[in-house]
């Protein structure tokens, strides 16, 4: 964990230096590093504490570069948010989250924060008091916007990795997301008990050599970001761009436990329902779509992005098996999940 203050010159007092110093914390969620810049070391520390393994050293290579070969348009190598801290109080009159596009930038508002985001430049700012929750909301909105362009989404679902495969457990509050996480055996890595990060497979690059594995070193195939400097993900392989991956998130639910900063291909989505015994039921395509779409987090009023998210959800459903998991709150529910070698269908054999 490193916070790198900008170099301060002159014979200033410690207090003056604090005022002049910029503190940086890189928060990388879903493999997307967002550099947070703040003038207060206390807030930077608060963020490091809040985001734990998701807060890494600042990236030095932050400039947006040419889109990668899988990109459909301009992409961003990394993202920056400058946080302006103000005294506690109402920032805007927006009671609910409001996300609108104005003059080529996104405006995000809620009573406790006002933020603006220049999508093309990958830069923005936030005005809020010194609490981690406002920034948490801004990051969720930001990632939902970025993911919408990339074919992914945030969804109200717990997720976990077992034997190298990720499983999602979706449902509204009270259906058992947190319970499933509480009951997880030691060999299960919890990615989140509340908000899952789903991203379509990307062609990844060799971090060590700075070039795409198994391909020529053409300019178009240069890495979009030197992820090695982020230091959070070290395994780089060519991924199947058609498959979906789940990433850990720091967005916690009732467990108040931030997820593990891991990723894995998604082997299945379970729609949760509590019952007296464990059983797995088939789900119609329309039921699966309805359940998934109702649980996706998307805040922006934007026809194009809503259509993209909608298409992404349906594409996800075409590639990832969905079942309803009726379960009793007992650790045995995990007995049949992820134990097979071929994913959800072979792995679900409740006894």
């Amino acid at each position: 964990m490193i916070v790198v203050p900008r170099t301060v010159h002159g014979n200033r007092t410690t207090a003056e230096n604090e005022l002049m110093t910029e503190h940086r914390v890189c928060i990388e969620i879903g493999g997307m590093p967002v550099l947070i810049r703040t003038g207060q070391s206390g807030f930077a520390k608060m963020l490091r504490d809040r985001y734990g393994a998701f807060a890494g050293p600042p990236l030095e290579n932050l400039a947006p570069v040419a889109p990668g070969p899988q990109s459909q348009g301009p992409t961003h190598a990394a993202f920056e948010l400058e946080v302006e801290l103000i005294p506690p109080g109402v920032v805007t009159d927006a009671e609910d989250v409001r996300v609108t596009a104005e003059g080529g930038r996104w405006v995000m508002e809620r009573g406790d924060f006002h933020a603006e985001w220049d999508e093309k430049r990958g830069q923005g700012w936030v005005r809020q008091s010194a609490n981690p929750y406002s920034l948490d909301s801004v990051l969720r909105i930001l990632h939902s916007l970025i993911l919408a362009r990339e074919g992914g989404f945030l969804v109200h679902a717990a997720s976990a990795i077992r034997k190298g495969q990720a499983f999602l457990f979706a449902g509204i509050s009270g259906t058992g997301k947190t319970t499933m996480c509480r009951l997880a055996p030691p060999d299960v890595a919890i990615l989140t008990d509340e908000i899952s990060y789903v991203r379509k497979g990307q062609n990844e690059y060799s971090a060590a050599k700075g070039q795409k594995s198994g391909s020529s070193n053409s300019r178009e195939e240069e890495p979009r970001v030197n992820r090695q400097t982020a230091g959070l993900h070290h395994e780089y392989k060519i991924q199947d761009s058609r498959r979906y991956e789940a990433f850990g998130t720091p967005f916690a639910g009732e467990l108040a436990l931030i997820g593990r900063n891991l990723r894995a291909p998604i082997a299945g989505l379970f729609l949760l329902a509590k019952g007296r015994e464990n059983r797995v039921e088939d789900v119609s395509h329309s039921d699966a779509a309805r359940a998934l779409l109702q649980n996706i987090l998307f805040f922006a009023t934007d026809a194009e992005l809503v259509q993209r998210v909608f298409q992404s959800a349906l594409d996800f459903l075409a590639r990832v098996p969905v079942r309803r998991l009726v379960f009793a709150p007992h650790p045995q529910v995990w007995k049949g999940i992820g134990v097979g070698s071929e994913g959800l269908d072979s792995g679900l054999a409740f006894q």
């Binding site: 329309s286 779509a289 109702q294 996706i296 009023t301 026809a303 809503v306 998210v309 298409q311």
Partner: protein, 98 residues
Amino acid sequence: MSQLYPARSKAIAARKLDDEMMIMSARDSTLFSLNDVGTIIWEAADGRTPLAEIVTQKVCAEFDVEPGEALKDAESFVLELAGHGIMLLSDAPQAGPS
């Protein structure tokens, strides 16, 4: 009520799954799912066909319902969708493809 010409809004995303139309509003990301009758009306709502014709030609041809009652229900239905901004209503045919 005068003739109603319903047209699907363009500010939506929609897909038919298992005879059920899933519609997501771009205005507030609200999800709507239409049953089979609603789906028939939705698919026929091209802005040029009056609702009464949709009911008699499509709905009554498919389901055993009384035309007057079906039209009344259909009017309530399209008004509700219009209230959510996913259907546009006009009292005259709309030019061009919807």
